[in-house]
Amino acid sequence: MTTTAEHTDHGTHDDHAEHGMSIMGYVKVALILAALTALEVATYFVDFGPFFMPVLLVLMCVKFFIVVSYFMHLKFDNKIFSFMFYSGLFLAVGVYAAFLATFKFFTA
């Protein structure tokens, strides 16, 4: 006997509806990631002035969440998976931000 939830989760392997992305969709996401990487590398060769650091950090975060949301399917999957991953991620960010602060990393 199977449940409705199991059918929803595994019932349609013949299309991409369960993850909301087509092959072309994945290719488009990859092209966006490639463009963002090229922009990141450009900051090494072109002087972005005071925007250098914010641009790099924003690009890093955008690339991170694109891969996690679309390639790892967190955007389309059950929210429990998002909770498990982001709990670890935000715990790590909080713990190590505090750790770096004790070493006066942000003020030096």
């Binding site: 006997m1 199977t2 449940t3 409705t4 939830a5 199991e6 929803t8 989760d9 595994h10 392997h13 013949d14 991409h16 369960e18 993850h19 092959i23 994945y26 290719v27 996401v29 990859a30 990631l33 490639a34 990487t37 990141e40 590398v41 900051t43 090494y44 650091m53 790099l56 950090l57 690009l59 890093m60 690339k63 991170f64 891969v67 996690v68 390639f71 790892m72 059950n78 429990i80 998976f81 498990m84 991953f85 982001y86 709990s87 670890g88 991620l89 715990l91 790590a92 960010v93 713990v95 190590y96 750790f99 770096l100 070493f103 990393f105």
Partner: protein, 200 residues
């Protein structure tokens, strides 16, 4: 009853939520990996300026070379997601093709890392040369080991699928290996920015 046995054989055991226990376990593992790499990255950030008598980061990093390596790893995420899509469509030929391509791209990245380490060592940056060297090799080395384990898992999966007589029954396993592979990629996205692109 027989249907239930077949369903379990194909998709593994499920929890009371209707979700796969294997997938829950993988996400929990990836969440814990954030803490591992968070510690390594934080340690590097603190020690990256402690170069002692050794070379500085800007003197040993080859940004164009590492950019190409990063691009290779990024594209391996595309081929991995294509492998997962093929596995969900029960297309064994497509699955093995994309898994193999992903493995080869991963091996290329690891080869590039070995070349990079060798070049850095020849320029005077050993593991114990400075705190910067120790923190750098530990962080990127741990990541390289993760990529290597991923390559082994990918190629093992190809062998398993090729030996299997039942087509399309490895979709969840391919998805789990894919999650691990994408995680390795997102960790590199962070390392590439914080370690290589942002100067000391």
């Amino acid at each position: 009853m027989a249907d239930a046995a077949v369903h379990h054989a194909e998709h593994g055991h499920h929890s009371s939520t209707g979700l796969s226990n294997n997938k829950l376990g993988m996400w929990l593992f990836l969440g814990s990996e954030c803490l591992l790499f968070g510690g390594l990255i934080s340690t590097y950030m603190i020690y990256r300026g402690r170069v002692g008598e050794g070379p500085r980061p800007g003197n040993v990093f080859d940004i164009p070379f590492t950019s190409v390596s990063s691009f290779v790893l990024l594209m391996s995420s595309l081929t991995m997601v294509l492998a997962v899509a093929a596995a969900q469509q029960r297309d064994d030929r497509g699955t093995t093709l994309w898994l193999t391509v992903t493995g080869l791209l991963g091996a290329t990245f690891v080869g590039g890392q070995v070349y990079e380490f060798t070049a850095m060592y020849n320029e005077g940056l050993g593991y114990t040369t400075s705190l910067f060297g120790s923190a750098f090799y530990t962080l990127t080395g741990f990541h390289g080991v993760h990529v290597t384990v991923g390559v082994i898992m990918l190629l093992s999966l190809v062998a398993i699928i090729k030996r299997s007589n039942v087509p399309g029954d490895k979709a969840e396993v391919v998805e789990l290996v894919g999650l691990y592979w994408h995680f390795v990629d997102v960790v590199w996205i962070i390392i590439f920015t914080l370690v290589y692109l942002i100067p000391t």
